[in-house]
Symmetry: C2
Subunit: 209 residues, 2 copies
């Protein structure tokens, strides 16, 4: 079996979905959680000066979604057919578009307020809530199309992991995040009940985001 080393900060963020994939597959990996100081020291050695970076037998793979897709394909959580894999990839890209859209709110709440969005409550009303409504609409359509309880028929995928982990961060900031969307809250809980994921969630380091 290859040797895996995942570099990220001591948070969930863009590294957690890959950690969850290792947990789902019962595959051991080195979970390297960098301090800011250690990150600055290693930054020039990473392909794009960023984390997460996955080292596979010494070869570095950068970019969070590319890492997770690589692991998901190996471990069987990338979709069951070629078309389903493309649909899962598209779901994840749609989630990343949502993530970019909510930055004025999300980054403001995390203490990195973008210029022009100093009023975080305004960002919540004008950015987060409309983006959530649109994105949850897409998720509802996907969930209605299949009976798996996940976003595609073939079962849990890396897209479910990115999306639900991000929901954990958002519901931590906005307790009413799921209000008016019981089917999305049920989906969120359903993913977290997936046995091997549930075990990982119970034992992982506890971080706010």
């Amino acid at each position: 079996m290859p040797s895996y080393k995942l570099y990220y900060f001591d948070g969930r963020g863009f590294g957690e979905a890959s950690r969850q994939l290792f947990a789902l597959a019962d595959v051991p990996f080195e979970d390297v959680r960098l301090t800011r100081e250690k990150f600055m020291e290693l930054k020039p050695t990473f392909p794009y000066g960023q984390v997460p970076v996955l080292e596979v037998d010494g070869v570095q793979i950068p970019q969070s979604v590319a890492i997770a897709r690589f692991l998901a394909k190996k471990f069987g959580f990338a979709g069951k057919t070629e078309v389903e894999q493309a649909i899962v990839d598209g779901i994840c890209d749609q989630w990343k578009d949502f993530y970019v859209e909510i930055k004025p709110y999300f980054y403001g709440k995390l203490g990195y307020c973008p210029p022009g969005w100093e009023d975080v409550e305004k960002a919540k009303t004008e950015v987060l809530i409309p983006a959530r409504d649109k994105f949850f609409g897409f998720l509802k359509n996907l969930l209605n199309k299949n009976k798996s309880g996940f976003l595609v028929e073939g079962g849990v995928t890396y897209a479910d992991l990115f999306i639900t982990d991000n929901m954990t961060s958002l519901v931590g900031l906005v307790p009413e995040y799921f209000e008016g969307y019981p089917e999305i809250e049920a989906y969120y809980k359903h993913v977290q009940e997936f046995p091997k994921l549930k075990a990982w969630l119970a034992k992982r380091p506890n971080t706010p985001s």
Copy 2:
């Protein structure tokens, strides 16, 4: 062979890389170029209300990079090994991050100026040029690592197509875009000289972006 139908606007944008993949593979497809009016009519029928959308035997795949990756995997332009495929995916995601970063300039030039960036020359100096310098640095590192003349050892991939087509749009707006980067300009031309791509570039509809 499956029947392929690609919906996009009458422009290159996020649809062109997939058209180029069909050309590289000599695979016929229906190149549906929507007017704004026709797009508004079809919008509710698309999974995320957006184009590009690829229909494969009637099944819709949304999201530009997911579509291109699906075709690239089928046609042999996604990377030659599992690790190389992940690195190609990561290059493309890094390019999308660059694309998001330069929006204040790029969208302003295309007539969709984001709030706070009405001064397009300021956006050029403060956003586009630093983002280009950073991104071109990454591309140089990738090109130096292999002898293929493409971003990975295994030859041309969908990442080369997205990146060089976007360069065509940017150099159309900023004639000095490659100044100080002869190796990147050489790479840009090298991709465009790839025989089947060259033939497509000569015959495709001519649009500014």
